[in-house]
């Protein structure tokens, strides 16, 4: 009965983020949060193992108090309990900090065979926390996984690395980061949503995990985060008959030398 921990991040929904046209500052005031997409695949993959090999699944997240809402969401997807490192350090955390915290939490949980993470988060898409955590814990990590199975105390995973696939096998404990094509996350049913409220949640502060201040401070300095603006010519032909519009466009493209 393998013990599986599925990690997820509670992120701002980028669709709700507005860019202030004047100074290009980001306005996140109306942004709702969600479990980062690929993390949903990680949770789903963990939960699928419950039926496949009797796995016991818990979720783990590092977030500020805002992440409280995520617990119900995560638990409704199948894990039987949730771990939450609730700390303000999450507000400014980079991959370095997040990995330190998750690794410390996993050490405190102690008994785990498989850790599942999404390949990258929807907000920063750093694609680094998974391998970082594994390195800190001294366990093997298999990244970019599109297919996975557990055999005894081994994980056999298929990776998709751009121009090839490869099969990687490792013994427990091991960390795996998944690509979205690995599965289709379930939409929780009413009973699963209600059941979530009854599942246990263990909450820790970073201090409970014995982390030093420098392990909780991001490494690089963020100079700015600004809305990305494409400065293009924006010459759009709207009026006239289709033939006229096409003629204008064709002439322009010929002039640009791209035909």
């Amino acid at each position: 009965m393998p013990n599986i921990i599925a990690c997820y991040k509670w992120v701002l929904d980028e669709q709700d983020i507005k860019i202030n046209p004047g100074n290009l500052a980001l306005d996140t005031s109306r942004a709702k949060c969600k479990i980062s997409e690929y993390d949903r695949n990680a949770i789903e993959e963990a939960v699928l193992q419950v039926d496949k090999c009797g796995a016991v699944v818990a979720s783990l997240t590092f977030g500020t108090s805002v992440a409280k809402q995520s617990l119900k969401d995560a638990l409704s997807r199948g894990p039987e309990k949730a771990y939450w490192v609730n700390d303000t350090a999450a507000q400014t955390a980079d991959g370095f900090v997040t990995a330190n915290v998750l690794a410390a939490a996993l050490r405190k949980i102690g008994d785990y065979d498989l850790v599942l993470c999404g390949e990258g988060s929807a907000d920063t898409y750093g694609q680094q926390v998974g391998p970082r955590v594994a390195t800190l814990l001294g366990i093997p990590v298999i990244t970019f996984v599109t297919e996975m199975k557990i055999e005894g105390n081994k994980v056999i995973a298929t990776r998709k690395i751009g121009d090839c696939t490869e099969t990687v096998t490792a013994d427990f404990p091991v960390l795996v980061t998944v690509l979205p094509e690995i599965n289709k996350p379930r939409i929780p049913s009413l009973k699963q949503v209600l059941g979530a409220a009854k599942k246990p949640v263990t909450e820790w502060k970073a201090a409970d995990l014995g982390l030093a201040t420098d392990e909780l401070s991001p490494k690089n300095k963020v100079k700015s985060i600004k809305g990305f603006v494409m400065n293009r010519k924006n010459v759009i032909y709207k009026e006239g008959s289709p033939t006229e519009k096409v003629a204008s466009l064709a002439a322009t493209l010929a002039k640009e030398g791209v035909l």
């Binding site: 109306r30 709702k32 939409i187 929780p188 049913s189 009413l190 009973k191 949503v193 209600l194 059941g195």
Partner: protein, 427 residues
Amino acid sequence: MGEEEKFDAIIIGAGPAGTACAYVLAKEGKNVLLIERGVSAGSKNVTGGRLYTYALELVEPGLHSEAPLERKVIREQIMMLGKKSAVTIDYLDYTFKEEVPQSYSVLRAPFDEWFAGKAEEQGAMVASGILVDDLLFEGNKVIGVKAGEDEMYADVVIAADGINSFMAQKAGLRSDLTGHMVGVGVKEVIELPAEIIQDRFNVASDEGTARMIIGCTEGIQGGGFLYTNKDSVSLGIVFSPENAAKQGKSIHEIYQDFKMHPAIYPLIRDGNTVEYGAHLVPESGWRGVPQKLYRDGFIVTGDAAGFCINTGTILRGIDLAIVSGVAAARAVIEAKDGSTVGTSYMRELEQLGLIPTMKLFAGWPDIVAIPRMAETYPHLANDALRFMFTVDGTVPEKMPKAMRAIVKKHVSMGQLIADGWKGVTSI
């Protein structure tokens, strides 16, 4: 979650009606489940809009001071648009903001979500992102709901699922909506700095305006509205889709023309559109309320019950929804079992004044429906005032003669009398 576990009440829809009901029930210690099909409460709801505060006070005194409400409405306005002119009646009343302010402009997403959160705090179980597919029956009695594969049971099921209530239909209490029972509302939320709103509408930082507009729907039965929020303006129109279809006009085109009207445009100039949506609105008042609002183990509340009032000057929906939710909760608390809840509910609706109010305004939809209200009379009013205020050096006609001519230009005596009669009898 065992099959034997049963809720005291399952409420379908976490809008104001459903949530008010859940709140009161949970506070009373009842085991209540509130199911919402949207990702969060409020995500599927649209309102003009404004909330009359007495209703929140009915749920829990003092609740309004915690709620994310926009501005206290102290300016009530009626505007009649001409082609390039407008007649506006502006009623300013500072008593409307004293003590418990009479009403607030409101934005549904934050409000509904906050409200559902309050119900949850009281102990209600809230499940979002779940669509209820069907009701469960045992003989004649509604005993629960079905959502996907899951079946949940309750002593009472309360439908608060909005204007096109599938649950009320499944219970056989109403049939599908027809064109003349509803209006289509189109609404835009336009962001503007608070100070600009305060300057343009002449209100202080916590004060706001509610304006009803007629003459903005190009002759189609309906009207417009404008509400000032903290840092945005809610602007929109509601009208009869049937009528619009007959005249071959697109809702969005009509709305754009309205927005560009010289009396409207300067109010929202340089604003930033942050939301643009549409929703159905019950239009028939009391006559649109189903014959029966309950059956064994089941009651209908809010928009699902048609609880909306439109007098042309006042629009009420949210407050009536909340009151009906409270009535439903009280009925569940009093009742011994599902079979008596319905009659208790009707009694509460009477005692809380909801039914008497609905009956009182029963005829008003007829006034709103008078075809000439949409364009003729507003234009008439504008022409009349244009005459009164025109000074161009020429010798004006004598007032009575001029007025008669203006009236005759728009409407015949017969039509005027018929409309007048209709108006008087409707009230």
